[in-house]
Symmetry: C3
Subunit: 138 residues, 3 copies
């Protein structure tokens, strides 16, 4: 079984969509299997992170912004792929550092996530994007 999630994003940051995924998994006939989510872009990522305190998400975004600042930052002057904007190459680097796909076991028809785990799209670009995530349950 497979489907596609289309996630409209209004700027950089983490967007949770655990409930959308859980609802789709619950509707499938498979009670045991492996769910894989795959983002079809090279400037956004998928992460499993704490879903309790929203500060975890803003802190994560702040850390990666410091580790990989925009190419307008003098420390990034060595980068050459800059014509798509100062947030473009940093977005590709973040997309290399963070997952393109996550696989989550499904047990008893539900995602086997830990209590504090949520599924997030991590958007790295500044301007709004529609992001496409393929879901497959096997």
């Amino acid at each position: 079984m497979n489907t596609q999630f289309s996630i409209p994003k209004s700027g950089p940051g983490l967007y949770e969509f655990t409930d959308d995924v859980a609802r789709w998994v619950a509707r499938q006939e498979t009670s045991e299997g492996l769910l894989t989510l795959f983002v079809r872009h090279t400037s956004a990522s998928l992460v499993i992170q704490e879903n309790a305190d929203p500060e975890v998400q803003t802190d994560l975004q702040a850390f990666f912004h410091k580790l990989v600042p925009p190419t307008t930052d003098p420390s990034m002057a060595y980068l050459t792929h800059t014509y798509e904007g100062p947030d473009d190459m940093p977005a590709h680097i973040k997309a290399a550092l963070l997952p393109t796909h996550v696989s989550i076991p499904v047990l008893d028809g539900a995602l086997a996530l830990g209590t504090w785990q949520g599924v997030y799209l991590f958007e790295h670009r500044n301007r709004p994007h529609q992001r496409s995530v393929v879901a497959m349950l096997r």
Copy 2:
């Protein structure tokens, strides 16, 4: 087929459990498939790393400690999620930088790991934790 590994940890570092996984895989009837290990926490990771020289594991731990120091370090003063201790938010950041799950092909009833590859739980928190890892073979 699925199972769960419960790994008691006494502090930060890498803990190998390749043999536990290999033994479980050997007992299953599937001779070809995909094994997925998934850690149900947001402050610990799963990594596949060199299993020959223990210095590789301590060096890895040292690198990530320098890249993401405790929030008591002045360079981390921008972080806001600090009330669970100085090692908490850095643990979440490390859990974003490192894998939550690993998938390993199983061929002829055995893990298709390279000669020098071992499977490790990478614990990021200071105080002892019991960590739960779901294993699924499809």
Copy 3:
């Protein structure tokens, strides 16, 4: 179904092998499934990255070289696993930061990659290596 790709590398950098993978997938009878690629080494990685502008690949390599310089760099003096050469422990660290495996949904008999996504082996060692990648389609 499974196979193995053997990729000769002449030095550090990103080597695309999307076409090899796509051709093998097209020859299989499975029209829907999950393809997993797994690199059997701890000093090379697999990444899904932009395949349009080659500068993205050289910039990625430059970023990781700055983040994890050779152990001859004074900032890396704290590392202890150095007897296999100044690029050895940094290669292990990069292999922890970057994926050991990628899983890509297969739909209608083809990889469900986005328009700009390619599959790369990211070699971290200086001297030439033959790298082995296991592919499994389930």
